[in-house]
Amino acid sequence: MSTLVLLTLTGLGLGALYFLIASGLSLIFGLMDVLNFAHGALVTAGAYAAWRLTGHLPFAVAIAAAIATGAALAALIETVLIRPLYSRPKDQILVTVGLGLALPALVQGIWGADARQLQAPKQLAGTVSLLGARVPTDRFVLIAAAIVVLAALKLFLSRTRYGLVVRAGVEDRAMVTALGIDVRKAFTLVFAIGGALAGLAGALGGVYFGSVSPDQGTSLLVFGFVVVVIGGMGRTDGVALAAAAVGLIQQFTNYYAASGLGDFAAVAILAVVLLARGNRDGVRRLIRRAA
């Protein structure tokens, strides 16, 4: 039982991390059709910002700095590099690929290739006893952060004018401009939100893994992509569910099958989902027949 609880919360914690990364990716893609390969670099940037400040300043400040770093970097990338290329969608992806290569390499150049230990504050370093399991506190922090972000994103999308613009832009960007709205402001905003969440993911990921390294963001990005494809582009709820599912399946497979198989399981689910989607009609018919 205690193993089950620990695995579940660890899986959900990992899923929370995936959600923070995937929700930004999914929003950016949904609105702008930009597949952001630099997203992993934003995660890394956030992680290093948090690592630099931890120990010198309160941890909350370190987290805030990570968020700010991610948001500022993302807004800069959008306005300077992505914006001039809106008529060349493929080149936008290529530019993010270039950044995704260069930024982690730059981090490596400055702080070295080796992982740096991130000393989490005492409140996060301990464990909490729950149903007989001793669960590391940071799992709860991650899950709570993801829930807060999910709620905030939903509120933003449903209650604010910018959220309305974003939802409309996901459907038809050109028509939004034809209503007299400067959709580019929404682009920058969405990119910055994605960057902020990536920065947060970097900082919390540093706590979760206990260290930061230059390619940490990029390896998390892959699972971010898996989650986005499974959950559906531009669908926040779907992404949240998929993130939780992927995190849980990874942890459980790693524990009960073999270490390392969990990552495979995540990719295998992706394949199954894709095949099922390819044969959606067939699957629906099956379900109807079974019901």
Binding site: V97, L101, Q108, G109, A174, V267, A271, G278
Partner: protein, 389 residues
């Protein structure tokens, strides 16, 4: 006349490449020793190998418009399965290479079908490209994880040294580096022959039709899935063969071949040189490999060590420079280096009959360079245009 010249270029290039191992020329800054020294030939072999791999990758990226982020998987499959076949099954090199090629073909068929099938149904067309990119990335990542997590079989981070006892003596040892050069050249010629021949054939025209507008191609009676899968399998198989060559040239299977960065390097080569062109990937592959090695040397040189940190740090990381160069090329030279001469020559748009006054300029490249309102992506959607016409 012009045609003759065009046909002569490959012959001339091949003649130069064939003569290089006999050349004692010194090119300071590019090669440490003379061209025919083992060190230079090794680097040249890598250049030719990557040129071949880049052509294979461009088959997907440039010819069919498929952005694969998992091409490394097939190169790694070729290298690792050939080495494992020699080491564990005790097969001689030729059989191991054939087995590796067959595995590459089989896996690319399977995963290509899954990636392409799922992608078509993900939603809008744009999502198709992106979904494919993500899915291929995920599969390749799985391969990378497999190699990393099973050190007993794959050697983990160390990789696997070449089982030299199964390899003909001609490919072993520093004195035989020239044979590795010939091998890499043979690989490049093979890839060029297959890809160029197909591109000029009926299949190539179908590829182009599908790349330009998948739906229109479908209306014309082409089955995009079949052509895309065919190209994917061909690229995967050629990649696996390249993996075997990589195994021999670098005397081992290295985990670097499994990483996303390996695929991204191929992407950078193709875009740098010019995607969808004959010579672009070759140029990009050679240039990238040379830069990657020379920049590495620059990074550790004394002149860089003496620079202030602002300059030293980026210069010490080849990937920073390559990434920045890549972004610059995407911005400043859309179409890559191969398109540079025609861009410089073709600045002025051709005058067209029926175009008068201050009509729009006809050049596609020109259009791209000017800022375009966001709406165009929507307004100029191929299908919309078709229905508007």
């Amino acid at each position: 006349m012009k045609r003759h010249v065009k046909n002569l270029i490959p012959v001339a290039v091949l003649a130069v490449l064939l003569s290089l191992p006999y050349s004692t020329l010194r090119i300071p800054g590019v090669f440490d020793g003379a061209v025919n020294t083992p060190g230079s030939l090794q680097l040249l072999a890598l250049c030719l190998l990557f040129a071949g791999l880049a052509i294979g990758y461009d088959l997907l990226f440039g010819r069919l418009g498929l952005m694969s982020f998992g091409h490394a998987l097939y190169v790694a499959l070729g290298a690792y399965s050939a080495e494992l076949a020699m080491k564990n099954l005790h097969l001689p090199l030729v059989l191991a290479a054939l087995l590796a090629t067959a595995i590459g073909a089989a896996v690319s068929t399977l995963l290509g079908a899954v990636s392409l099938k799922g992608v078509g149904k993900l939603g809008t067309e744009n999502l198709g490209t992106v979904g494919f990119a993500m899915v291929t990335l995920a599969f390749a990542q799985a391969g990378s994880i497999l190699v990393g997590r099973d050190p007993k079989t794959t050697g983990g981070e160390e990789g696997l040294p070449l089982s030299t006892e199964k390899v003909p003596a001609a490919f072993v040892g520093v004195v035989n580096t020239v044979n590795l050069y010939w091998l890499a050249l043979a690989y490049l010629v093979l890839v060029c022959a297959v890809v160029w021949w197909l591109t000029d054939s009926r299949v190539g025209r179908a590829w182009q039709a599908i790349r330009d507008n998948e739906r229109r191609a479908e209306v014309l009676g082409l089955n995009p899935f079949r052509y895309q899968l065919g190209a994917f399998v061909l690229a995967g198989t050629l990649g696996a063969v390249g993996g075997v060559v990589h195994l021999l040239v670098t005397a081992g299977a290295t985990p670097e071949t499994t990483t996303t960065d390996f695929t991204l390097a191929l992407l950078v080569m193709v875009v740098l040189g010019g995607s969808g062109t004959r010579w672009g990937p070759v140029l990009g592959g050679v240039l990238y490999t040379l830069l990657d090695h020379r920049l590495g040397a620059v990074a550790t040189s004394d002149s860089v060590a003496g620079l202030p940190a602002v300059l030293r740090v980026p210069l010490s990381q080849p990937l920073v420079l390559l990434g920045v160069l890549f972004v610059l090329v995407v911005y400043a030279v859309p179409g890559g280096l191969a398109a540079l001469p025609s861009r410089l020559r073709g600045r002025r748009p051709p005058t067209r009959p029926g175009l008068r006054g201050r009509g729009p300029r006809g050049q596609r490249g020109e259009q791209h360079r000017l800022g375009v309102v966001e709406g165009e992506a929507h307004g100029a959607h191929p299908d919309r245009v078709a229905s508007e016409l």
